[in-house]
Amino acid sequence: MRRRDFVKGAATVIPGSVALQMLGTKWAFAQSADFGNDIDVLNYALTLEYLEAEFYRQGNEAGLLDGQEAEYLQQVGADESAHVDGITQTINQLGGMPVEAPGVDFGGAFDSRATYLETAFTFENLGVSAYLGAAGFIKQPAILQAAAGIFGVEARHAAVIGNLLGKPAENGVYMGVTETPLSKDEVLAAAQPFLTGAAGMGDDAAVTR
């Protein structure tokens, strides 16, 4: 196949105009004033990271996994704790006030290996979409870089946990050709069932203090 044919042929799979349209919608939802500044975005991320870190702390203590699987989830939990520390430090450096850890209730998530991994799968994919959805609000390049770096690791977690569960490769291990962003409202709605008490995200208190 000649070069020109290849380019043309490839372009017919996803016409350029369609591709651009896809890309153009990525930030579309982000027009509402979800975040006032970078510290708001970081506190939003911090709340989600707290949620994940505590989830894996409890889940890994429950002794539901063995061998390689247990090791993977230990690594995932350690990553989330590192994210909590890193984001907290960054907020402090910026002169902001880090939110406190939310109250959490994971219900029956630790009933079995399957419920643990399924809930982890939900959290990780939520995290991926949350970071992508919030990235457009970040103004400082260094913070954007950090958020992107964390986002990629959440995607790694999501894929491996999906594979541990034996999910279909597409729409399971992978979530399409590109990752999908979620707005703050969508993310909070999904996280709400696991959050309790005043530190929860029932209103904006946790993210815009």
Binding site: R3, F6, V7, A10, A11, V13, I14, P15, G16, S17, V18, A19, L20, M22, L23, G24, K26, W27, A28, A30, Y72, Q75, V76, D79, A82, H83, G86, V128, L132, A135, G136, I138, K139, P141, L144, Q145, A146, A148, G149, I150, F151, G152, V153, A155, R156, H157, A159, V160, N163, A169, E170, V173, Y174, M175, G176, V177, T178, E179, T180, P181
Partner: protein, 212 residues
């Protein structure tokens, strides 16, 4: 960053024209001005991607070349039935994603009034396209290189839409990297944050395989 020793230094990328090669290599020149690039994110992040700078077009062409490399690699290896079973299930969508990335990035460059870099010719040494272990080892190198390449451009991209697209693709490359590591006995979670590589570093890794 890790400096992958691809194919023991044998060339795998050949460009059809000198212009094409230069377009890819022009990235190296960007490094020198990286610190002074105007980052006007706050104001125009949500504008439609219709005013792409030459800078962003260069980055897209750089990404396109890496996507071409990945797409060709997986396409040929799967034609050789290099993996089977669950591994085949997991690798087939990776090939499809890379092909779609080529189409999307190429189409976007065209829509923005740029000239997509020509598809390079690749030469893959014996083994990596038909031996499972060699294939997965090479796939891991490519995916990790792709992740760090995209991550390394996050703060260089000026247009918000292009940044969004690059990030959305980068996450998929991270999934690929993790799964390849998982099925080949590597570490899917090498660090709590993705590493970055500058265009200069990626080019340094890639240039030894590029024939003019």
């Amino acid at each position: 960053m890790r400096r992958p020793e691809l194919f023991h230094g044998k060339p795998v990328i050949a460009f059809d024209t000198e212009d094409s090669r230069r377009n890819f290599l022009r990235g190296a020149a960007l490094i020198g001005v990286g610190g002074t690039l105007a980052i006007t994110r706050a104001g125009d992040r949500f504008a439609l991607a219709q005013d792409a700078s030459q800078n962003d077009l260069d980055i897209l062409n750089y990404a396109l070349t890496l996507e071409y490399l990945e797409a060709a690699f997986y396409t040929r290896a799967l034609e050789n039935n290099v993996v089977e079973g669950r591994e085949l299930e997991l690798v087939t969508p990776i090939r499809d994603h890379e092909q779609a990335h080529v189409a999307a990035v190429s189409g976007t460059i065209s829509d923005l009034g740029g000239e997509p870099v020509e598809r390079p010719r690749f030469r893959f040494p014996d083994g990596v396209l038909d031996n499972r272990d060699a294939f997965l080892e090479t796939a891991s190198v490519f995916e990790e290189l792709g992740v760090t390449a995209y991550q390394g451009q996050v703060t260089n991209i000026e247009n918000g839409d292009i940044l969004a697209a690059a990030a959305a693709i980068a996450g998929v490359e991270s999934r690929h990297a993790a799964i390849i590591a998982q099925i080949s006995g590597g570490n899917p979670f090498p660090a709590p944050m993705e590493a970055t590589a500058t265009m200069d570093e990626v080019l340094e890794a890639a240039m030894q395989f590029i024939r003019s």
